[in-house]
Amino acid sequence: MLLDFALPEHERKLIPEGRISGPMPWVIAIMLFLTLLAAATGLLLIGAAQQGGDDIASRVTIQIIEPNPTRRAAQRVAVTRALRSMPGLSQIKPIPDAQVRELLAPWLGGDVVDADIPIPGLIDVTFTQQPDKAALARFTKQIRPLASNIRIDSHATWLAPYFDLMRALILLSGGVLLLLLLATSATVILAVRSALNTHRETIEIMHMMGGTDVQAARLFQRRVALDALLGGAIGFGVAALTFWFISGRFAAVESGLLAGSAMPWYGWVVLSIIPLGVTALAMFMARLTVLSALKKML
């Protein structure tokens, strides 16, 4: 089908150049721009979920709840030592009490924290892989004997709503992408039907001289492909500028969930393929429309 794009010059003349064009390239440019935005959003969300989400979800925070600062420090050292000998952990980071006080000070006030409220001893632990429930249970069983009162918070638990939201947004992007492709197909069908009406007499004459449906379909396919390529180039250009602008803003976000998130490597490949895919889709729809319309002619 794609080879039909390369028509000899004399065959191209059978339908005057520019008659299908009109607003078609611009409509396709807008549709493609929106399609690329939807696809990029979906891909960025996948990237963010994979990078930020996975990083955070593979972490746990151990809280040593011991009011006596001396015992608390001793227990934290013991737990840290035990953790360093455990397999499957990529990072063990005891949080100094001073840093914990700093974190609490905006809410409780610096003086109150120092004097009256015992603070927990904190150790951030990162697993090499996101731990499942069984791994977490084994981990808890190994750590619990090392301190009198210990609590283990898995970040994956409080991240569950975040992952649910991400999944919903990714599905939404996919749905929008699908709707846009359907709308693009509908636009092509309407444009080709209108062009078919305009050129009905030429097509009938071709038929009477032994022209085949495929010969007629190729003429329309080529026109639609040119429009789609032109519209695709414009839509892709505008989308690329938009991504460049947005990605700068995105990189400036320091939120733990979004920091460092970027388009996955295959994302750029997918985005580059979309204009070609839309062109192929437009050609296919044009061919289908013409062939089904011509079936009604003898």
Partner: protein
């Protein structure tokens, strides 16, 4: 002798109207020349449409080149249509194509290479006296010039059958005679020619031509030859 066209009890109606053509049974033989006459509304154009496969009949059997044209699958039609040249009453030139491109159209549709079609098209342009207007669009041509282009387009592919609907209606008598000579020359090369006309003077131009007369959709056969091999064709000088 194998026939080019066989009609057996053919009828044609548009929608639920009464039959515009009824009980047509005749045979056209290779290399024969037929004039189709009849009053306006007698059904000449409808009969020609059946001959160039623009319509299927409402009833009856039509055989074209030995094949059943009534039940012929759509995808086989183009191959048969390429064997038929058609001169439409309203010319039906492609408006955005030049004279040259209009005449070349059947050859291009048949997949003839550009280098192979330039010679025949140029020769045809010269023959119809429109070499100077090779690049003109139909809208800038006179009625007679358009008619000549339409005829040139119909004959350029040396069809096995030529169907012409009032082909000399818009040209002067001298050009009409020249065009008829072109048809006769093609006929001598073996093309079966069917010319629908009102012009009774044309009927005497080609000796041996047979006449088919339509009257209210029914065919009369004044020469009585439609079902027999034709006599040898002699063009009057």
């Amino acid at each position: 002798m194998q026939s080019v066209v066989e009609f057996d009890n053919v009828g044609l109606r548009y929608g639920t109207d009464s039959e515009i053509l009824a009980d047509l049974s005749f045979t056209l033989f290779p290399g024969s020349f037929y004039f189709l006459t009849g009053a306006s509304g007698a059904g000449k154009t409808s009969l020609l449409k059946l001959l160039y496969l623009a319509h299927r009949p409402s009833r009856g059997v039509i055989k074209m080149f030995g094949q059943d044209a009534v039940t012929m699958p759509r995808d086989r039609m183009p191959g048969f249509r390429r064997r038929i040249g058609v001169v439409f009453q309203d010319f039906r030139l492609v408006k955005h194509l030049s004279t040259f491109d209009n005449i070349a159209l059947p050859l291009r549709i048949a997949g003839i290479q550009e280098k192979d079609l330039k010679g025949p098209v140029t020769e045809m342009l010269s023959w119809i006296g429109l070499t100077e207007r090779a690049h003109a669009r139909p809208a800038t041509l006179s009625g007679g010039e358009q008619q000549r282009v339409a005829i040139a387009r119909a004959v350029i592919g040396r069809p096995e059958m030529l169907v012409a609907d009032e082909p000399t209606g818009n040209v002067d008598p001298d050009m009409a005679r020249r065009l008829l000579q072109l048809f006769a020359a093609l006929n001598k090369l073996g093309t079966t020619v069917v010319v629908a006309t009102h012009d009774i003077h044309l009927l005497n131009e080609i000796e041996g031509a047979q006449m088919m007369r339509l009257d209210k959709g029914r065919l009369s056969d004044p020469t009585g030859n439609l079902r027999h091999p034709p006599r040898p064709l002699v063009l009057k000088n």
